[in-house]
């Protein structure tokens, strides 16, 4: 599943939170310059993939490789140098609540580069303009709608012109218009800046519209991957269940348990 | 809140804190214990010091002129040896006498200096010859009762 053009490569990654295994022997690559959507049901480890890429979590086994260097073996200093090239959009924006919109976007600029104040102002206004919120620069995060907060967070994530953008559930909790705006921004930014984008979602409609490629995760490994159109035509029962949103299928409705009658005490176990 | 406003309030706060510390040091505490004033040490021996403790004030004519440095026992003379630290700006004749006094009936004990008439002054390291011990209340009461009884007997 790995290609030489991949920017990020996972090779036989094992990862577990305590007792619960998330990934077993995960091999997957993410193409440079493309928009890749990672999809899967709740608890399939979608967000964990982003954490592994960002170095916020380390696999118990295997390697996460970005441009020939293993992210999971970086020192604190190397990791921070590597993260300066990554922009990440968190699920609910993760804006700093005590700073206004302008200062939120200016934050990475002030922390990472010692630019003169006028340059900071120009850059911040440019980034805010790119997400259409130049007019909101004096508002506090509490005064923004969910969609606006997401866009401010996006402006902040691209403040340092990253070469890789990660999006954690960018469409969750957004109305149809905001969803369309966000999807459009992901696509436009990717193409205009020539960067690589990876996003995690379970919103079929929005992601199929935006992504070049879709990776479907289930039970700790990749179940299917391909262009959105390929997945729509797939005959794999799990893909069909996921794409069409069916209640029962390979992913059962019931969590595995003892027989119903036995749990209710209507039937005694014999022997 | 605006940045300059935060700065202002923090400035007020720090100034108030330092002001409070100064207030405690200067108004509530005794200033001379901070600026260990230049002093000279003289010693005196007493038969009984009562409850005198180190750091008790040394007064002359009611004014604090120094503090008790230490209270020890002289094993040769078998008396109490008291070191006094006197402020350099106060000079006393060499034949001055010291006594142990009590502020009020039950108050703390302090050392009183009664100036003598000699032309030379006490200097650092000198020993004051004339001393009067603390009045021990039990003894006074005992003597009083004893006197009363002997009065009765003579009647």
């Amino acid at each position: 599943m790995r290609e030489p053009t991949d920017l990020i490569q996972f090779s036989s990654v094992n990862f577990a939170y305590g007792q619960s295994t998330i990934f077993r022997n995960l091999d997957v690559g993410f193409a440079a310059g493309k928009v890749t959507a990672i999809m899967g049901g709740s608890g399939s480890g979608k967000t964990t993939i982003l954490k592994l890429i960002g170095g916020q979590a380390r696999p118990q086994q295997g390697e996460v490789i970005c441009e020939a260097s293993a992210v999971n073996k970086m020192t604190h200093r190397e990791l921070f140098a590597y993260r300066k090239r990554i922009g990440m959009l968190f699920q609910f924006g993760a804006l700093f609540t005590d700073l206004n919109v302008f200062e939120n976007v200016a934050f990475p600029l002030r922390e990472q580069a010692s630019l003169p104040e006028t340059a900071v102002r120009d850059l911040v206004l440019m980034k805010l303009h790119a997400v259409g919120l130049r007019g909101a620069s004096r508002l506090m995060p509490a005064e923004l709608s969910g969609g606006m907060a997401r866009r401010v967070a996006l402006a902040r994530a691209i403040a340092l012109d990253p070469s890789l953008m990660l999006y954690d559930e960018p469409f969750t909790g957004l109305d149809p218009i905001s969803t369309a705006i966000t999807g459009n921004l992901i696509r436009t930014l990717n193409d205009a800046l020539g960067i690589t984008s990876i996003f995690v979602t379970h919103d079929i409609k929005a992601s199929f519209k935006v992504a070049d490629e879709v990776v479907l995760l289930s039970r700790g490994s990749v179940t299917a991957r391909g262009k959105p159109s390929d997945l729509l035509e797939s005959n794999d029962p799990l893909v069909r269940q996921f794409v069409n949103g069916e209640v029962d299928g390979p992913v059962p409705f019931h969590v595995s348990s003892k027989p119903y009658r036995e749990d209710l005490g209507l039937e005694h176990v014999r022997g | 809140m605006e940045r300059s406003n935060v700065d202002l309030w923090v400035g007020v706060f720090v100034a108030a804190g330092i002001g409070a510390l100064l207030f405690l040091a200067l108004k509530a505490g005794n200033v001379d214990s901070i600026m260990k004033a230049e002093g000279y040490k003289v010693s005196a021996e007493f038969d009984n010091i009562g409850g005198l403790k180190a750091k008790a004030p040394v007064k002359s004519a009611g004014v604090i002129v120094g503090r008790v440095e230490s209270v020890t026992f002289n094993n040769q003379s078998l008396r109490a040896l008291v070191q006094l630290n006197l402020d350099k700006q106060f000079q006393f004749p060499a034949d001055s006498s010291v006594s142990i006094l009590t502020s009020g009936l039950l108050g703390d004990q302090f050392v009183g200096i009664d100036p003598g008439g000699a032309l030379e002054n006490l200097e650092g390291g000198d020993r004051v010859r004339i001393t009067q011990s603390a009045i021990v209340l039990e003894k006074v009461i005992g003597q009083f009762l004893y006197g009363k009884m002997s009065e009765k007997n003579t009647d």
Binding site: P108 | V10, G19, A20, L24, A25, A28, S33, K53, L106
Partner: protein
């Protein structure tokens, strides 16, 4: 037998857990302190946290200090009146405040006002992924967020304790001298002869520094280690207040035993 066994193993588990937590907190604080140079490079971060921990606690400290002083003055006067030495009320008020009540009560108030706010702020930043976001922007939250908060609390606490004691003495003065009519000269002079700078005031300041360090460290650690949910943060805030109070009282005993026994 099984009951004893169960209780013993529960005790063992609790001991291991608390030692583990203490170790974790020490490592965390080591990391925070070692990355504290940021407050020298960017003093404005520290100033903001002194505002957060100190200035916002100022009102409660001033009001409580005043009332504690009023009560001490009143109670002290009533007691000393029986012995006819009401002039000593200044001594009583000042010594109680400077040695004990100033550092201890202001530390308890500081824990419940500033300590809980610090825990909540860090906990909420964790819950809303602000700390993760910072890490992904290659900014170390230990240095950028936690260190200024810790040092802000560290600096604020002794100042608050001094203000508390000073306000208490003012309160004692108001009730005994101004209201009841104790002689003002006796009030101050008796206070001054018995309150020693090194022995009383300096030791009180040392206490408040120790308490400030303990409460600030507990507050930032509990915030950082909180479970990132609304419930987790509220539990962490409660733990900060309870742990701080216990730590302050225990440390006070230890410090008092060292400072005020043996010396005359």
């Amino acid at each position: 037998m099984t009951f004893v066994r169960k209780m013993l193993s529960r005790l063992g588990r609790a001991s291991i857990d608390s030692i583990w937590k203490l170790g974790e907190a020490s490592v965390f604080m080591g990391r925070v302190v070692s990355r504290s140079s940021i407050i020298l490079r960017r003093p404005s971060l520290l100033v903001a946290e002194i505002h957060f921990a100190g200035v916002l606690s100022l009102v409660i400290i001033i009001v409580s200090g005043l009332f504690v002083g009023l009560v001490l003055g009143l109670q002290g006067y009533e007691t000393l009146k029986r012995y006819g030495s009401t002039g000593a009320v200044g001594t009583l008020v000042a010594l109680s405040l400077v040695r004990e009540l100033g550092p201890v009560v202001s530390a308890l108030l500081f824990a419940s006002r500033a300590g809980s706010a610090i825990t909540a702020k860090i906990g909420i930043m964790k819950t809303t992924e602000q700390l993760s976001a910072m890490e992904m922007m290659a900014v170390d939250p230990h240095a950028r967020v936690v260190a200024p908060m810790f040092w802000g609390g560290f600096i604020s606490m002794p100042l608050l304790a001094a203000i508390f004691s000073a306000m208490g003495i003012v309160g004692g003065y108001l009730i005994t001298v101004v209201v009841i009519g104790v002689d003002s000269g006796a009030f101050w002079s008796q206070m001054q002869t018995s309150v020693d700078f090194h022995h009383d005031i300096l030791n009180g300041v040392i206490k408040s520094v120790v308490f400030g360090t303990a409460v600030s460290a507990i507050a930032v650690y509990e915030g950082y280690a909180s479970v990132p949910t609304a419930e987790g943060v509220s539990r962490a805030v409660t733990r900060t207040v309870v742990t701080s109070a216990l730590a302050v009282l225990a440390l006070d005993f230890v410090l008092t035993a060292f400072m005020f026994t043996g010396a005359h």
